[in-house]
């Protein structure tokens, strides 16, 4: 039971929820860059929501299945074909042994998720199946997939639904809460941060994205000791140009943190592509928690609905 990789595009890695316990050893979280898309993909193929999948950056991927299975392609929007027949995304797709899946270049969004019934079967390393690219461990041999790789698939847990889910709208806004060093920046920096359309530079990967815009000056020089950072932290190095930390971010950093993307919006971060712009909008803690609660209810509702479609 396996998947033969024919083509991978820019980057394709095996990911799951990541290593939440790794920080005590300096191990980054890793894991999927868009948690809802991955969870929903798993529900569409009848998996437990937290089973490992393949995360594909910007598309350009193809693979052949040697077993009958159910798949779903969620996340960014791209043309998807199965033996040259056009298939929809964000829906359950029945695949027969020998068929070839092709995912073209993404039309919008940056990360796609290929979920397969039974999940991707790679060894657990430090509590997760996620690939740590910087450390070279976890996932498939600690690296991105290459043409010729045979990726083992797990045993399907049960029947898969015949389901379809509407893809959420990403928009160009990330909602933020001011972070621990917010008040160390000038008033002008606060205004700039919240009014600028920040350009995602080509210097963006799974660790973080450098953003370009007006400079964000500190009111006075600030000596910082090392402190925890995690996905969604917006830190500002001496250049004054912010860095948005993503799934593979280091566990500690030393730059002042101006803002934190709210948990309900973390999924959006990984779907921006170089050249696109981000606007940061400040919300209150209560609004952030309402948004998270709403997102959890949406996911719980989908899970219930898809269970009835088996």
């Amino acid at each position: 039971m396996s998947l033969s990789i024919l083509k991978t595009g820019a980057l394709a890695t095996v990911q799951d929820a990541g290593r939440y316990d790794g920080a005590q050893w300096g191990v980054p979280r890793s894991g999927v860059m868009d948690i809802p898309a991955w969870l929903i993909g798993n529900l569409l193929v009848g998996n437990q929501p937290d089973v490992a999948a393949i995360e594909i950056t910007l598309g350009g991927f193809s693979a052949r299945f040697d077993v009958d299975c159910v798949i779903a392609v969620t996340g960014a929007i791209a043309p998807v074909t199965l033996d040259k027949q056009t298939m929809g995304q964000w829906r359950s797709i029945r695949v027969r042994a020998g068929q070839t899946l092709r995912i073209g270049f993404a039309e919008s969004g940056a990360r796609l998720f290929l979920c397969v019934s039974g999940g991707v079967d790679v060894p657990m390393v430090i509590g997760a199946r996620s690939t740590d690219l910087a450390g070279g461990f976890g996932g498939f041999a600690g690296r991105g997939l290459k043409a010729g790789d045979e990726v083992a698939l797990g045993q399907a847990a049960g029947p898969a639904p015949d389901g379809w889910v509407r893809a959420p709208e990403r928009g160009d806004v990330l909602r933020i809460l001011p972070s621990t060093e917010w008040s160390a920046f000038t008033m002008a920096a606060h205004q700039t941060f919240l009014s600028e359309a920040w350009v995602v530079t080509p210097d963006a990967n799974r660790m973080g994205a450098r953003l370009a815009g007006l400079e964000l000056p500190l009111a006075q020089p600030l000596e910082m000791t090392s402190h925890a950072v995690h996905p969604g932290v917006v830190q500002v190095p001496p250049s004054g140009q912010p860095i948005l930390l993503l799934a593979d971010a280091q566990t500690t950093g030393g730059y002042p943190k101006i803002a934190q993307v709210i948990r309900a919006d973390l999924w959006r971060m990984g779907q921006f592509r170089p050249g696109e712009t981000i606007r940061f909008v400040e919300v209150t803690l209560a609004e952030a928690l309402d948004a998270l609660s709403e997102q959890r209810h949406w996911l719980a509702r989908l899970e219930m609905q898809l269970k009835w479609r088996v």
């Binding site: 005590q24 050893w25 300096g26 621990t180 566990t251 934190q260 803690l285």
Partner: protein
């Protein structure tokens, strides 16, 4: 500095204290207490600070804040964490330590004196972070403090022993880095197949033992 607890977004709280060894010892105790009593919280230790990440749909920030306050108070009682001592064998200078001469010139010492002073220190692991298994060490002789390189190297090999500003440390894996490299150790600091995967833990002590000094 009085302890301060601040939110870091909607899913984390940060306790900041002073970066003294005295306060850091209390953070080590806190880290263990919190990990034992609240396994659902993710505790990350920094230098002079400790961050707790949590799921705000499961626990309220006020509960976490109270837990942090109590653990900080309890850490006062002179509790000690179990710690280990490590001797780190180092080849100093030559290709293993291309910046040894730069450090010596900056300190106004000979390379041999730099090695002697570096190896005379008793170092203590403040925390682990930055890279998997990377120790933030206290205890560098202030005279050996050397500014980071203007242009960081694109690739520093695993096992490189370096000085960056007032800190010394060991690169557990190959990575870009701006520290002055003075030596190399074969000791493996991080192995994902080990349990735990990091050799060093906060509170551990270490000494650098010169096995060879190259010109």
């Amino acid at each position: 500095m009085n302890p301060v607890i601040q939110p870091l977004g909607d899913t984390a709280l940060v306790l900041s204290v002073s970066a003294t060894l005295e306060d850091q010892r209390r953070l080590w105790v806190m880290q263990r207490l919190l990990q034992q009593e609240f396994p659902a919280w993710w505790v990350v230790l920094g230098v002079g600070n400790l961050t707790v990440r949590f799921d705000p749909m499961i626990e309220a920030a006020a509960v976490i804040e109270h837990g942090i306050e109590l653990a900080w108070q309890r850490s006062q009682r002179g509790l000690k964490v179990a710690s280990h001592h490590h001797d780190v064998p180092v080849v100093y200078g030559g290709k293993a330590g291309p910046d040894l001469i730069r450090v010596a010139e900056h300190a106004g010492l000979t390379p041999k004196q730099v090695v002697e002073r570096h190896a005379a220190g008793q170092y203590i692991v403040y925390c682990i972070g930055f890279l998997p298994g990377f120790p933030y060490l206290g205890g560098l002789d202030p005279q050996l403090a050397t500014p980071r390189l203007d242009k960081p190297r694109l690739k520093v090999p695993a096992g490189a022993v370096g000085i960056g500003g007032a800190q010394t440390g060991i690169y557990p894996s190959a990575s870009p880095g701006g520290w002055n490299l003075i030596g190399h150790t074969d000791l493996r600091l991080f192995d994902p197949a080990m349990i735990p995967p990091a050799l060093l833990a906060p509170g551990d002590t270490l000494r650098f033992v010169p096995t060879e000094v190259r010109a």
